[in-house]
Symmetry: C2
Subunit: 245 residues, 2 copies
């Protein structure tokens, strides 16, 4: 790192200050559709518009800490639950005019969560709600771009990581896991082939002991699995035809 234009007698206030925020693209699969957690802004700019949850990074916290704090505030989830969630830095958005008030750079995070209860619009948000991904209206700031980037990233990561289990509850069936892939990728997968791939990948999932089985309504009851130790998928589970970018 080099030094600022006039580094001698360094004075932080000599520079036009930047504000740093975090924005969260919190995704889940609910009823076979990809959903996003959105909040309705209570004040200007973009008052009344929907936006990704997020907020300012406090002076003594890291962006990751801020992200978890904001997520807990906006969803009303207990800290313990939020602490265990899969949170991943997506990208940082730095266009000079992305916020009309001042120079704000935003560190965006992606969170993959199981189907959670409806959020209570806490914090500064007028309202918080899960919206189906393809019914999301135009969002405040550059949040459309962030959300699109998050979706692309998640789709790609499903191919070569075990991340899909993050969308599932602690115990899940292979059918539920397959639904995650089908929903995020938007393509149907062959059931037996999917099953074979998941079960032969060491550490992807591990069976839950005992005879417990879950009947998901109709059909033969399915065995339950837990997420395994592995994080990467080798070889990967590639999407059918779509050559991903």
């Amino acid at each position: 790192m080099t030094t600022p234009p006039r580094p001698d007698g360094y004075d932080p206030r000599a520079f036009e200050p930047f504000a740093v925020t975090v924005d969260l693209a919190v995704l889940t699969v609910r009823a076979g559709r990809l959903h996003v957690l959105l909040v309705q802004r209570g004040q200007e700019p973009y008052a009344g518009a929907w936006a990704l949850p997020g907020g300012f990074v406090l002076p003594r916290e890291s962006a990751g800490t801020a992200a978890r704090r904001e997520l807990a505030e906006e969803t009303g989830l207990p800290e313990a639950t939020v602490a265990g969630l899969h949170l991943e830095q997506l990208r940082t958005y730095t266009e000079p005019d992305r916020d009309p008030r001042m120079r704000v750079v935003s560190v965006a995070y992606t969170a993959l969560v199981p189907d959670l209860p409806e959020p209570r619009g806490g914090g500064d948000a007028a309202e918080a709600r899960w919206l189906p991904y393809d019914e999301v209206p135009a969002l405040a700031f550059d949040h459309d771009v962030i959300l699109a980037d998050a979706r692309t990233r998640v789709g790609a990561k499903l191919e070569y990581t075990c991340l899909a289990t993050a969308f599932c509850p602690p115990e899940f069936t292979l059918g539920e896991l397959r639904e995650v892939y089908e929903t995020v990728w938007g393509v149907p997968l062959d059931r037996p082939n999917f099953r074979r791939k998941v079960l032969t990948t060491p550490g992807f999932v591990e069976p839950v002991e005992g005879p417990p089985r879950r009947t998901g309504g109709r059909g033969k009851p399915a065995a339950l699995y837990r997420a395994g130790e592995a994080t990467a998928l080798h070889p990967p589970l590639l999407r059918p035809e779509g050559r991903s970018a």
Copy 2:
């Protein structure tokens, strides 16, 4: 995005300001070894220590623009060359105490470049130099972490993207391309298998017209190739045994 603690009568100066910098992990393959572009700091903090090139983001530029500007300044490359380089946002580092002077968040970028001429230590750097990756001393700030993250990311991206060509000059032989993989991954690859994989992946490389062949010293002259249109590798070119993380 929610609003700051006391958003009414918003005043940017009311918050302890953050500074925003960019840091660049510029990697190249030279003589079969991975090299990194480092600069020696001219002043405190960490005066005399080696660090990644980078610098402050100016008030009216994006981080990406700042990264290219700093890269041009520190390496002395013409703007046109820098404009064509593969620059990719790596991650943003936000630990509160990563800079002893003040709160600085840094957006890190990774650049993959062909074997470039020795840099002239321009800008604020006392000296700029290519250092072999495994001879890099302890770096200033958290740059060791950034550099390690960059290496991990690049290693992984070689598997499922066509990024390796970014390490090569405009025209290159398959031997040179293979050397990139072997150097970054640190494992030898089977020559015929590598060749088959690269040539059967549509759009990875395209042959250079005519009879031009390059003799790289000894051995049979090799045909020349150019980078193709493709960006992704489907299916990927996985590292031999190392199950990547």
